[in-house]
Symmetry: C2
Subunit: 480 residues, 2 copies
């Protein structure tokens, strides 16, 4: 088992071993000084900090293979890293100081794009935004969308099975990958860059690596699925009475929205208030206030007609009482304004003091009941606390954030992080949900996993880890 594998202690991490690793990539790309290492050892929210003898920046798949060969021989733990935007500390080494960080940044080639076959071959270090742009330049669309897309990498998206707002129509990262190239512990390379829509020749190893958070090997490249560009997009901001009304609205939107529902985001009034109070140039889109809002996006392959269909659908939803009021974006700018309300929501919480966060999912149908119960429980547990649940209602994925009581003590509030997590996760379990819908396990939720996972499933995960990484060098102490 990885946890029982002996690893060198910091003192054992000899100058000789360092030199051997550095020689594999060249001195220039082996960072040993604290200043140079800084950006690789803490993440943007400054929540996880690590130590490492070396940050390695390999420039080719063969160099990655050489690193994992030497690491396996010398039992040196490896922490793979993409754009360092992960939220659960999966990409940050522990403080023990004997884990080598391998950044995939220099593997940044767009290898091929095939608009006819709708595929895009990219290396792990290509940022999500560059992948989107490469698709766009070929007249196609790559639908994965994340706030961090300018810096997160495709390799990191794959390692964490990234989600985002487009999941409702296009699925998670797992649904967007046709093939992978992976370096395994020991340095063997799996050449799995397939471009096939159908292939039933054995076990699905691709999906085993997607979402494994660097604990089974290092993804060095991938074949991504492309899609036709939507010809027209309609965006509406809709006031609703409750999450239950919003789910009824979703049914109507799916049936009569004039295209595919490509976003269905829930916002609480409290969140809109926060953004309006602290956002630079945010405006309230509707004249009256409603307890909840839906940001709806409908995409169509037709050039015309989305606007009319969306309008007729909203009229129908209004008549049935599912929608209280709504505005359809008249321009791309106005659509961007709606989206800004959604995107600034999490950030605006910073100005309201401490915030305890959860990234959970339940079956879509159960979201309203889950919200009722979780909001009441949290408000009872910390009187005056301000629950701010928002997110991907159409996928059952709620970012159940809680802001501290007005004027309360931030530290005292944040000291209740784990108890609040336990409370909310307990309710998630009652609703057969997930305690990590899209962010992964990493360091943050590793200790929670045995409490929420079927022991049979956990045992299978452990045995697969032990089989594919027998010396436990791949990102130890993450996930399992």
């Amino acid at each position: 088992m990885p946890s029982s594998t002996p690893s060198p202690t910091p003192s054992e991490f000899s100058a000789d071993l360092s030199a051997r690793f550095a020689a594999l990539v060249g001195e220039r790309y082996a960072i040993a000084d604290a200043g140079g290492q800084g950006p690789y050892l803490r993440e943007w929210r400054d929540r996880y900090h690590g130590k490492t003898p070396l940050v390695l920046l390999p420039g080719s798949v063969e160099e990655v293979a050489a690193i994992l060969r030497l690491a396996d021989e010398t039992r040196t733990p490896i922490v793979p890293q993409g754009g360092n935007t992960g939220l659960v500390g999966g990409q940050i080494p522990h403080a023990t100081g004997h884990e080598i960080v391998v950044s995939l940044k220099r593997l940044d080639k767009v290898r091929a794009v095939d608009p006819e076959g709708n595929t895009l071959d990219v290396e792990a270090g290509v940022t999500l935004q560059r992948a989107q742009e490469a698709a766009e330049a070929a007249g196609r669309f790559f639908p994965l969308t994340l706030p961090s897309e300018g810096s997160c990498t495709v390799g990191g998206n794959i390692a964490t099975n990234a989600g985002g707002t487009g999941v409702i129509a296009y699925g998670n990262t797992r649904d967007l990958v046709l093939g992978l190239e992976v370096v395994l512990p020991g340095g063997r390379i799996w050449h799995g860059m397939r471009h096939l829509r159908k292939d039933n020749t054995g076990y699905d190893l691709r999906n085993l690596f997607i979402g494994s958070e660097g604990t089974l090997g290092i993804v060095t490249a991938a074949v991504l699925k492309l899609f036709p560009k939507p010809r027209s997009v309609g965006t509406a901001f809709i006031g609703v009475d409750s999450p239950a009304a919003a789910l009824s609205l979703l049914q109507v939107a799916r049936e009569n929205g004039g295209g595919t529902v490509t976003a269905f985001e829930l916002l609480p009034r409290r969140g809109v208030d926060f953004v309006l109070a602290h956002g630079a140039d945010a405006r309230d889109p509707l004249a009256e206030k409603y307890p909840w809002y839906i940001l709806l996006e409908v995409s169509s392959s037709a050039e015309l007609g989305v606007g009319e269909a969306l309008e007729a659908m909203l009229m129908q939803a209004y008549e049935k009482g599912y929608a209280r009021d709504a505005v359809i974006a008249a321009s791309l700018d106005q659509a961007a304004d709606f989206w800004r309300l959604r995107e600034l929501l999490s950030e605006s919480q910073r100005f309201e003091g401490g915030s305890i966060k959860h990234d959970v999912s339940v079956p879509v149908r159960l979201v309203p009941a889950f919200l009722d119960k979780a909001i009441a429980a949290v408000e009872a547990f910390i009187p005056g606390s301000r629950p701010l649940p928002f997110g991907h209602l159409g996928d059952g994925n709620i970012h159940f954030n809680v802001s501290q009581p007005v004027g309360g003590d931030k530290k005292a509030f944040l000291d209740q992080w784990e108890q609040t997590n336990a409370l909310v996760h307990g309710i998630v379990a009652e609703f057969h949900g997930s305690i990590s819908a899209e962010h992964g396990i990493g360091q943050a939720k590793r200790a929670l996993l045995p409490g929420v996972k079927d022991p049979v499933e956990l045992a299978m995960m452990r045995s697969i880890k032990a089989t594919l990484d027998p010396n436990g060098i791949m990102n130890p102490g993450k996930v399992l």
Copy 2:
């Protein structure tokens, strides 16, 4: 490794052991007589025949677990079976006579349907048609469609990652499953019946079992994804000059077809001739003959407008030279007539003598070049042979069937099956394709796998098999 695990020889298969297995399900559901066993030991094309001491028909998940517990203890090989419609012999025991067949037929409950959450919980023995009907009754759509849907089971569909004609829009079975319940070797039950659209809490074990052809465990139930029913469907039968022209047509259809392309099937003129010659009431839909045809289906959530959009799109394709002529079905009956041409194609070959078959895929863009090369190679190898490639062009999946020369000797032709396979599969490899796009490996292609699979991938498959099924009791000698 499974292949080196000692299993009881037929003589060792004692009456005592038989009685212990029979006691687990009750005598009535333990079939030991040759007459009763017949339907479980040969498949419908009569190509694979097996022997077994017992066919067991467990009536509950717990009985399946008890069977796998005893099997693991006694090292008794188990062959799981669904509707016995598989095409590669995965569900048929070997002739050695010491493998027990476990039919999932009696696990046939529809456990739950949730139209709001778009999920359907079914047991493994539910036929695909019953699953479709359960979705339909709830106002939803389950898109998996196969010629054998009246008898094949959801468990078998999952074990083989079944494909079919809807893959272009909805994906393979792997894309249609949210959760699984699986009995593992040793009898532990993995309770993985999740209803979540997003869940990033560990490795993707679900997709590991999907497509593993009963070699890792027995799937006893699944949570299936449902979809909105299309409001309108347009079906066209289109004459084209070449597969390359057909691919251009596909682009136009995707962009301007008025909805989602839900089928894009290629038929060669020779295939249409075969059906017209031997089909009961088949009619040629177009006045003139063309070398190739496309059966196009477009589905929309809009009630009106598909017909007009389809017509305009076809006019555009005609003007660009992608389509030579086309007819749009004016009624459901006429659409069914088009589909019958496609569906009878394989069957009609029986009347034209022997047929050598391949189920291959290549990247979509490369299908025309692949067909050119493979047709020429086969015609050169067996002069007078009649290649009849057809199938799911939009997914790059071609059923590359070859009928024997007119008036030639059937046996002499079929004796060249393996050499012809080797020839075609060699060309598939040049085009980075798959030798089993949708039927799986089973017995039929097991010997071919080491020749076409990345050795690193094959080694990973073997180590996962050894880890999850250490005593090698699950469907030994299949896939690996």
